[in-house]
Amino acid sequence: MLRVEDEALLRGRGRFLDDLDPVPGAHQAAILRSTHAHARVRRLDVEAARHHPGVTGVLTGAEVQAASRPFPAACDSPIPYYAAAAEVTRFVGEPLAVVVATDRYLAEDALELIEVDYEPLDPVLDPHVATLVTERDFVYGEPDGAFAAAAVTVSGHFRFPAWTGLPMECYAVVADWASGEDRLTAWSNFQGPFTLHSVAAAALQLPGSRLRLITPPHSGGSFGIKSGVFVYVVLLGLASRKLRVPVRWTEDRLEHLAASQAATIRTTDIAGAFAADGELLGVRIDAIDDVGAYVRAPEPATMFRMHSALAGAYRVRNLALRARVVLTNRCPSGLNRGFGGPQHYLPLEGLMALAARRLQIDPLELARRNLVRELPYRTPSGGLYCTGDFAACLDDAERLVRYQDRLRERDRAHAQGRLVGVGLACVVEPSISNMGYVTLVEDEETRARSLPKSGNAEGATLTINPLGGISVQVSTTPQGQGHATVVAQVVADVFGVTPGDVTVVTETDTAQSAWTIASGNYSSRFSGAGVGAVIGAAGAVAEKLRAIAGAQLDADPAEVELRDGQARLRSDPDAAISLRRLAGMAHWNPDGLPTGMDPGLAATVYYSAPEVTPARDNDISASSENGFVVDIAVVEVDRETGRVSVLDYVSVHDAGRLLNPLLAEGQVLGGFAHGFGSAMQERTAYGPGGELLTATLKDYLCPTAADIPDVRTAHRETPSPLTPLGARGLGEGTTMSAPAALHNAVLDALGRDAPVPLPLTPANVWELLR
């Protein structure tokens, strides 16, 4: 089915937040930002700005800190985090003050009149000497014994570099503080998770009911990054409170690249213990996550998102993880497509590629010997791989890429002096996160002092109006994934109508929508949790319709089917009542409803996924479902320039039942583009003093149509028994697998025995060829 979202977007009639005036008379904000990575702010003089024509007023960082509490996070941090800096600034782009004026041009003029006297302090950019926030050690099985018994030990040092999601639409907020009521209404292109609504409310010292957060009909991409807009909901909310006017702000690209949200930079030392036949006996991982200048919720979650898939697709059970989280003078990190997955699989799959070389075993053969064989499979750290056939996916990828031909072509190319390589990545792709995984940052004793956490539920409301029209409201805050299309499709199936008969409302309003702390659009949770809630609400209303129709037709409701816009008897299709008439009856004549039935043709239903429980000791089922992805990349490295060209790329997924194959392909190819960009060319670069070197799209190199290679995909649809329609998430898998597969292909092309530094830019690769 084609998308219901497209018509408005193609006509230029999208409703993105900057297109809307949700509250009349909003003034415009511009934000003064730190030009230093680390500095004491000796003096901030805003007097000239305050008196500039058109300026409504100025809010300083000191006022922000006096009027709010630090943002809470899952672990204590030595440095409290506020929406703006006061005495010390800790990253380039950190807000120092907000100027509000009648017009954005005037607000930006006034910014230039603010005088800041900085005393530069030494910036810290090296995670090995950075401020340690937390450190935890995890041991499963007997890794020491495994390494003692190993025939071969392989190790590598990997760094997943700084990059960012880069949606084409930047952050936007409209904040309207109701003076005298202590109530903030904020419109924002927020994407969830709605835990961050609680985080923002806590900073504002408001009960959650007094922070009404509303998302617009359209959001121009996010890929995780718009979770971080909650910081600006607080900042602009405080500006509106102080200046007693509604305030709006739309981020510009420079602000976005400097200060919105980064992907977590991970440095990993990994070692694998192998038997002579290639069996992986044990893995040791020493990982450091650089989360930037502050621990911004939901960090330090990146470290633990993949925790129940620590050994990825392999059945090794002796594992050790040393997990450290540190602060540096960079933009704070947070959600970013793949969230922890790219950072996890680069070292794990890189290790397998290095081991294959050392052991002189073909990489596919080495993977095959170690893949999890029988599902369901409980991982050592508590995850559940429920259904699927990992080896069969590997076989599919091998056939699709014509693996043996590729190896022969590679060897022929090598004989001619050309550098061709083949790389593999096998990736377990989690979906529907258990928000409790972040509590792994605490030891069991500390964790026991707070509420057990397994948040993952989603809500939806379905209503049938008096004329029989069906409306569904979801809280899945889509930013392009086509949720409305899938909802219309599955609801139409339940009621026996066409998708065009179903109106889907994707705007989320914390004062009106059915939402939970876990709501939102992340961890590829829509096809399971979002659709689960929709199916639940549709089922509840459909059951009511069948009961009403059964009473009217003098039949058992179980005999009633909903088809072709009617309720009719299976045994006698001529005995039928139209949906419209049934709806009219229910609305107009509650007295005529079957005895005991509540009036109203509406249901709000919440769905919580199975296999999601709070952490126990060091064990967590960090996600309800786990899909599987196998990628194989074929690349050629230009000896003269170091440029890497992708000759072929295949990606095989088992994401369960595909609810909409067209949208699924879009997610896989879009996810690949992100993974490709992070591996090949994107980077957020800082100079030695922490100065941002990639402040424009001419410096931060997002892939274009000329950069992205063709990707051939295939699906193996093993239905999930854990989700209502058998689907698993698939929006992030290729973002996780592509960096590892491309890295391993370049490793193979260069014939190296040590990891290749990412991104695989001509400059970085050429250094290795010299």
């Binding site: 977007l9 006509r11 230029g12 993105f16 041009y105 639409e169 510009d252 190819l669 583009a673």
Partner: protein, 156 residues
């Protein structure tokens, strides 16, 4: 003074629009916030992403790199001016059918830029389409479906 408003007249999607604008008002802001034509999106304000691409005097231009006063006396076409009384254009339909848009933020600029290419090169090759598209950033699709859609129209 340089900031004093000046009168301009711009023909936008066939209709004459008169207004007073300060010389520094960007064409993108004029279209979006004065005329309410919010289909023209602003993604970078430095001319790289292409989301704000419109036609000025028949040729594609970045609305974020022009002042409204520079469009005085010109014909401007925005995404809102593409679909006619017979519904979506062939290119709009092709993007829909090929799933060539996800969030839709970059789509208006792509429709304008690709429309210009197809006018100049009705049988544009895939390589030409990719070269043209390299001036338009899309972060959702990975581009393949967009190239497919444009190619479908070029081959029609």
């Amino acid at each position: 003074m340089a900031e004093d408003p000046v009168a301009i007249e711009v023909t936008v999607n066939g209709a004459a629009r008169r207004d007073w604008v300060t010389p520094r008002l960007l064409l993108s802001d004029f279209l979006r916030h004065r005329l309410g034509l919010t289909g023209t999106h602003v993604g970078c304000e430095h001319g790289v992403c292409g989301a704000c691409t419109v036609r000025v005097g028949g040729r594609p231009a970045r609305a974020c790199l022009m002042f409204a006063v520079q469009a005085d006396g010109e014909e401007v076409q925005t995404v809102e001016g593409l679909a006619g009384e017979h519904g979506l254009t062939a290119l709009q339909r092709a993007l829909h059918e090929a799933h060539g848009l996800q969030c839709g933020f970059c789509t208006p600029g792509i429709l304008i830029a690709a429309g210009d290419l197809l006018e100049r090169r009705p049988n544009a090759s895939r390589a030409e389409i990719e070269a043209m598209l390299s001036g338009q950033i899309c972060r959702c699709t990975g581009y393949k479906a967009i190239v497919d859609a444009i190619e479908r129209v070029a081959g029609a």
